[in-house]
């Protein structure tokens, strides 16, 4: 490990002298704006640092603060009562709670799970784990834009279906799913089937309301809206039977044990307020910058493919582009050395040599998936940032393509 750290120090040294940095890997982690950090800071040492279930001033302060956050997040998601919201340590835990909690609590009704074939890993792997407990999973096909096939969904759901989980916005493609229609189809075939949606990539980007969507459960994540990592939430409609999946001391939430993390809850709430305060302006800015980025790439380079839906069917922040005859991991490093930070759907960082399951599901060839780059814009980015990316990206792609020659052409 020490040796690895030394290597990383050298890698960081190679970045010295960078004059412009543009962080576009908002899929995998984000910066936390100063105003969010400042909102959190007093809760570490100045106030509300007590346990919210205990009988003293710092405890009551914490209780009051957390209840305020429950109310705000309930309002942003469209929950009717604040007991419908459970704060969890992240989207991963919220999705684990949703799937395991609902399946275990309702196993007498059936043991079938239905998900789309492009759900995130923290849905896929939980569904896989549930096989050990006798549950089976059907993965519903998506089209070349990543939109779920509603006819296939209809076929997949039956009286034995206990849970359906489909994201509102796919995290890799940005494609917006017809969730209202999907819920109607599922409920028509089996009114008892519980419909969960991970709306982490929709929250703060497109209007999402659990009443409007008529979903039973919904996951949101703090870091996906520029809040701190380590906090997320699960909405569970009142009356939907879900059991807790971890044991421990119960605080203010019956579905998640342990002492509530007040500063992170405050940060998540502040990040949500900032995202929704100027929702139209924020999302318009993301969209404008994203469109400039995509248009610029297509103007500057040939042999590029756009992954996912376009226009109104796509989240405003997401750009996913495959650069043919270039390998994604090499591109991420090449760009990093120029101060542009992105991620790739390439298999190259995994020994399994399997590329993004999402890109494969929409029919991209493996070589196209290996050359894919995912970029997400935020309201904090500027036109100058995009101009810098468009200045650097073509040179980077062309250098990598130069090394490839004819070798990567299949």
């Amino acid at each position: 490990m020490v040796c690895l750290v030394e290597n990383v120090k050298e890698l960081l040294k190679a970045h010295e002298g960078i004059t412009h940095e543009v962080y576009l890997d908002n899929e995998n982690s984000t910066m936390v704006p100063q105003e969010v950090v400042e909102a959190m800071l007093p809760y570490y040492s100045k106030k509300a640092y007590g346990n919210p279930t205990l009988t003293h001033k710092p405890g009551w302060e914490a209780f009051e603060t957390i209840m305020g956050s429950f109310q705000k997040i309930s309002r942003f998601m469209g929950a009717k009562i604040l007991e419908e919201i459970t704060f969890t340590p992240s989207e991963t835990e919220a999705n684990n709670l949703a799937l395991m909690g609902a399946c275990f609590a309702n196993k007498a009704k059936g043991k079938k799970i239905v998900i789309s074939e492009i759900e995130p890993v923290n849905i896929f792997s939980v569904a896989e784990l549930l096989q050990k407990y006798g549950f089976s999973t059907t993965k519903v096909h998506v089209n070349t834009e990543g939109t779920i096939d509603l006819e296939k969904l209809k076929e997949a759901v039956d009286k034995e279906t206990v849970l359906v989980s489909v994201q509102v916005v796919n995290n890799e493609l940005g494609t917006i799913q017809p969730i209202k229609e999907a819920v109607a189809i599922v409920k028509d075939k089996n009114p008892d089937a519980i419909f969960h949606t991970d709306c982490s990539d929709a929250y703060g980007r497109i209007p999402v309301n659990v009443q409007d969507l008529k979903v039973d459960m919904a996951t949101v994540s703090s870091y996906k809206i520029l809040g701190p990592r380590g906090i997320g939430a699960l909405y569970v409609r009142e009356g939907v039977n879900v059991e807790k999946i971890l044991e421990g001391q119960i605080g203010t939430q019956k579905l998640w044990p342990g002492i509530e993390n007040t500063p992170l809850i405050v940060g998540f709430t502040k990040a949500s307020e900032l995202a929704f305060e100027n929702f139209e302006a924020n999302t318009n800015k993301m969209r404008t910058l994203r469109d400039k980025l995509v248009d610029g790439v297509f103007k500057e380079l040939t042999d590029v493919k756009f992954n996912g839906a376009r226009g109104d069917k796509r989240s405003p922040d997401n750009a996913n582009i495959s650069f043919l005859r270039a390998e994604g991991e090499a591109l991420t490093i090449e760009l990093s050395l120029k101060g542009i930070y992105v991620s790739s759907g390439s298999a190259c960082s995994r020994r399994l040599l399997q590329p993004s399951h999402v890109l494969v599901a929409i029919g991209r060839k493996f070589s196209e998936a290996h050359g894919s780059i995912l970029m997400k814009t935020t309201r904090y980015m500027t036109e100058e940032d995009i101009a810098y990316v468009l200045e650097v990206l073509p040179t980077a792609v062309n250098r990598i393509r130069g090394i490839v020659g004819q070798t990567g052409v299949d």
Binding site: I333, C348, P355, F366, S367, G402, I403, V404, D410
Partner: protein, 169 residues
């Protein structure tokens, strides 16, 4: 999405940024390819071999990650000036890994693939001429087998993909 931060060495980074002997060689004596674009890992080696069976020049093209580019580059430098026999015997994937200052374990296969491609080229050189020297074993070496394994894996994945597509339609 890929998200393992790979702590490459300075040497790997240097070779990635400034690869040596990169590009197609028009007058190559022998050309060998290993890997598959479906795996995101593919190398072509071009070797210029003289009458004394000495590798006068070696160049490469690489479709792959930074480790793939760096190992391919270093191999071209390591084998230049060597006899085919010495190149076969002395250039092992472990030596290649050492030469680039070490690789993260998930990237060992890049070095193996590079050596597999060189051995494939040397074997091809003799097979084309119909005389295989004693020092080339009949059975494929570990590195050559690994190259085949990756190529087979790519085929299996593609097949699985097709089966999945057919099921859906």
């Amino acid at each position: 999405m890929s998200r393992v931060p790979l702590p490459y060495t300075q040497k790997v980074l240097d070779l990635f940024r400034n690869p040596k002997n990169q590009g197609k060689m028009e007058d190559a004596t022998v050309v060998a390819v290993a890997g598959n674009p479906a795996c995101g890992d593919m190398i072509t080696f071009y070797l210029k071999i003289n009458e004394q069976q000495i590798i006068e020049k070696a160049t490469f093209e690489s479709y792959g990650c930074a480790a793939n580019i760096a190992t391919a580059s270093i191999v071209t430098e390591m084998i230049k000036g060597l006899s085919l026999e010495t190149a076969w015997k002395d250039v092992t994937w472990k030596k290649v890994t050492e030469e680039v200052g070490g690789l993260p374990s998930v990237k060992f296969h890049c070095g193996i693939l590079a050596v597999g491609a060189v051995k494939r080229a040397i074997r091809k050189y003799f097979t084309d001429r119909g005389t295989i020297p004693d020092w080339i074993p009949k059975e494929l070496t570990f590195e050559e087998k690994q190259a085949i394994e990756e190529e087979e894996l790519a085929k299996t994945l593609s097949k699985r993909l097709k089966v999945a597509e057919e099921k859906q339609s």
